[in-house]
Symmetry: C2
Subunit: 514 residues, 2 copies
């Protein structure tokens, strides 16, 4: 696989460099020890809680799933016989929500890639589910399997990407009936990180669990003994849970696999125009499904998902990385802590191209995640256009900023070494610190070293072609894909995966009537 032999071949254009494409920090699960920013006081948190409880008690929520309605009815909730409306009391909800663990681990096929959801950790993963992708060479296009695999490889490559959060682009060249089989196969063979399966009908989620089980070489009992993968489900805001989402969530919960409950509460469109009202509705929607899953399997791992942002009131278009998004995410953090649930939020932006707007919207979104105490940052790399496009260049730009944030989160101390009194004495008033012994001992690791930012002065930058950020990212991702090596997998397991995929394709895959 390696082309090391050509290093001395004299073909300068093709010779490989020994240096890795990107200087990375090692794999680690970052600890966020900053106190979260809390826009509301305790009364405000209680007002949102009370509002959410009143919504579920007095207005109720549509549950488009007979099985779920039966479960709610048996638990004493008020199920309207003439509609799908279900109402539930606050004591019931809180009793169920209390069963959910505040923190849990997910172990993928490579146990070294185990992740912790909750507590003081904040993890990051790739953009999920855009129908389009783009890069500077080929422009914007609908997703295909090649692009899907490319972006999956980038997710595996970067240590700051802790999990595979869904398809980084929808491969529309694969028929929907079997797409989940090829996609999961690729994700499980090209990465060794935790993967996600979509809740889009029982076949897809069941096949997903089976593929993950096979890839990790587990018995069914071992698979069900602890979290091995996860799904994310979205409510059909306002106040509705669709069949496929609930069905997938319940199948996962029964087998002890984690479910992230993420209402799609865009303030001004599917939720009230006030940020506080939108988060209140988000809370009601998420808690109703969490209560259902805790009824089914008490203590099953769930996450409180926040996706509350606002729309542009002049066009109705979703806006991301806005002041409203930041506050909604921070308030969601307050609610997650109030209920003792791990929190998911996102690195989202509305920009159509990986330019300055994309960068500031993403930076705002990421700081919203950090300042809110978010535990899992969805869409942390590659997202453009409000989620409609995965950009190769943006993927690398986001990994650069995520790496910086991870460096930022390193704990600070002010011991004698850090205070550096002796170094200051050594240098005095007429020297500089470049050559001080205190500097020489530390210069290699003292500061975060960016792989994409260009810190050279203007003249040097201009002489070397005035290469702007997306162009630098473009050459980097090509280098990464060229160097990419899939993580090792036992040949017997690969064959078992292949056989399962072949069998299920023969059987017709999943129905496509949705």
């Amino acid at each position: 696989m390696t082309r090391r032999g050509r290093r001395h071949g004299g073909r300068s254009g093709n010779t490989r460099r020994t240096a890795a494409a990107v200087k990375q920090n090692p794999w680690a699960l970052p600890v966020n020890s900053d106190a979260p920013t809390e826009p509301l006081d305790e009364d405000g948190v209680h007002a949102i809680h009370d509002g959410a409880m009143r919504v579920l008690e007095e207005i109720g929520i549509e549950i488009l799933c007979e099985e779920a309605k039966d479960i709610f009815a048996r638990a004493g909730c008020i199920v309207n016989p003439d509609s799908d409306n279900v109402r539930m009391g606050r004591d019931f909800i809180m009793e169920q929500v209390k069963k959910a663990p505040p923190m849990f681990h997910i172990t993928p096929r490579n146990p070294a890639r185990q992740v912790q959801m909750g507590g003081d950790r904040v993890l990051f993963g790739n953009v999920g589910s855009p129908p389009n992708c783009s890069d500077l060479d080929r422009g914007r296009r609908v997703g295909d399997r090649q692009s899907y695999q490319d972006l999956i490889k980038l997710t595996q490559y970067f240590n700051c990407m802790h999990m595979v959060l869904g398809y980084p682009v929808e491969p529309l060249d694969i028929h929907p009936s079997v797409r989940h089989l090829d996609c999961l196969f690729d994700a499980l063979t090209l990465t060794d990180k935790v993967v996600h399966a979509y809740s889009l009908g029982k076949e897809r989620i069941e096949d997903g669990m089976e593929l993950v089980r096979i890839a990790a070489g587990l018995s069914h009992e071992e698979f069900e003994a602890s979290p091995r993968m996860f799904t994310n489900v979205n409510s059909g805001s306002p106040l509705k849970w669709d069949f496929n989402m609930l069905d997938g969530a319940m199948r996962m919960a029964r087998r002890g696999q984690p479910v992230i409950l993420t209402p799609f509460t865009l303030s001004g469109a599917m939720a009230p125009i006030t940020v506080v009202g939108a988060v209140m509705q988000q809370t009601a929607e998420a808690l109703s499904a969490i209560a259902l899953l805790q009824l089914i399997n008490p203590g099953c791992p769930v996450m409180f998902g926040s996706f509350t942002s606002n729309v542009d009131m002049s066009s109705g278009a979703p806006a991301f990385g806005t002041p409203e998004y930041m506050r909604a995410t921070q308030i969601s953090g307050q609610m997650a802590r109030f209920y003792g649930l791990p929190l998911r939020a996102s690195n989202a932006c509305a920009a159509n191209t990986p330019d300055a707007q994309a960068a500031w919207e993403s930076a705002f979104s990421l700081w919203a995640c950090i300042s809110s105490g978010t535990n899992l940052v969805y869409h942390a790399a590659g997202w453009l256009e409000g989620g409609l496009c995965a950009s190769y260049e943006k993927f690398l730009m986001d990994c650069e900023t995520v790496q910086q944030m991870i460096h930022y989160m390193q704990p600070m101390s002010a011991g004698e070494d850090e205070i550096a009194f002796d170094a200051i004495r050594e240098v005095g008033s007429d020297g500089q610190f470049f050559s001080a012994s205190h500097t020489l001992e530390r210069y290699e690791t003292a500061f975060y070293a960016p792989f994409l930012s260009d810190l050279r002065n203007f003249e040097t930058w201009e002489e070397t072609g005035s290469v702007a950020t997306p162009e630098r990212a473009n050459s980097k991702w090509k280098q990464i894909l060229k160097e990419f090596k899939a993580p090792p997998m036992d040949e017997a397991i690969r064959e078992e995966l292949e056989a399962f995929v072949a069998l299920r394709k023969e059987q017709g895959g999943a129905p496509t009537d949705f």
Copy 2:
């Protein structure tokens, strides 16, 4: 002056649009009510304090100003007769620092533009002092008076720019001996906001004070009665204060005018390679000068200036908007609160062009300011290239993000109106909120409306030319400059300013032997 008469003139290319170039929030002094992020615990803060005290007690600082040395000597400090080294004890320093006010106001010629330095306020101003400027049409060039005036006009135009923080670009086509006269004249006639004068020799700072006094129509006594302008001085790190800086600072302090003391402590170059050590050195340098000014005029207004960032250890180039910059700024906030002093920090970046890197570095810097409790954000708009270039386009991009942060800082509440229970009941499970009465009552002001971000979908964006952020900024600043109207000034005052400038030019201005 207005060209309103041409509105109906039929020359479509030149007809004025009635809509303003930029939708702005009204002038206001933003309140930052978020709890600051504190990377160090109380022991850490004490360790930095103790280190700074030890530096001033045991190592001392070079004071290249005989008058200042005399003042220190008379106060009992140890002045080395064979050098410029001055050592001072912690009790002395703390006694002086305690005299400094935790908060003060500065009133420019238009009292409606009064600003508050300190407390819970965070104010913003333009980039100061770059020798170059750039825009997309003319590229990068050395500064001239036309560009200086353009950028001053942008500073006046934007309500989120609270003060004129020095020359937004150095007008190198004006001879240095008289540059300060033309620049202050322009700043005082093209804006009505608080202005800054450089401490570069006694003539420049004295002329600056005189011009500000005349522009506000004040007697000398009235001028000295309260702050009317300010200066910023930088130490020659490590551990040195130059003559001009101290001389200017002392002249300002004597007349009750504010001084910002900003060490230039780049970690790894002019300060230790540890962020904590660099902030410790910054603290020692700033406090030594604050002590001097409090000796001269007890209670005079001063600010603790933080400019600690790191260098790129591979090139020695300064880096900004880095994780290290963020932590240094937050720790500086802890020190400022420990000493009860208002804090100045900056919106800095290293990027050479207004692209994504510039945007994320600036977003990181701005969030460092917000999360540290910074009271004055220097260089908040227009800075590129580590301060060597003022970009017209970046100026607008920064104003967009600063406006968003100001919107972000609006206080949140969770009253009945915000909780929006009735709106959720009204819409139910099958509706949307666009037409809800709760929405219609609020949609015009509910969300921040960006003037530069493009929130339209990809197709619309593409159909209208795929205009990226800097290009959008380019057309906006042209529109602003076309529409610009200088704030009113009494004709007699303008003549007095002109006469003073003419007289001082006749007298030769300031010596240029520095």
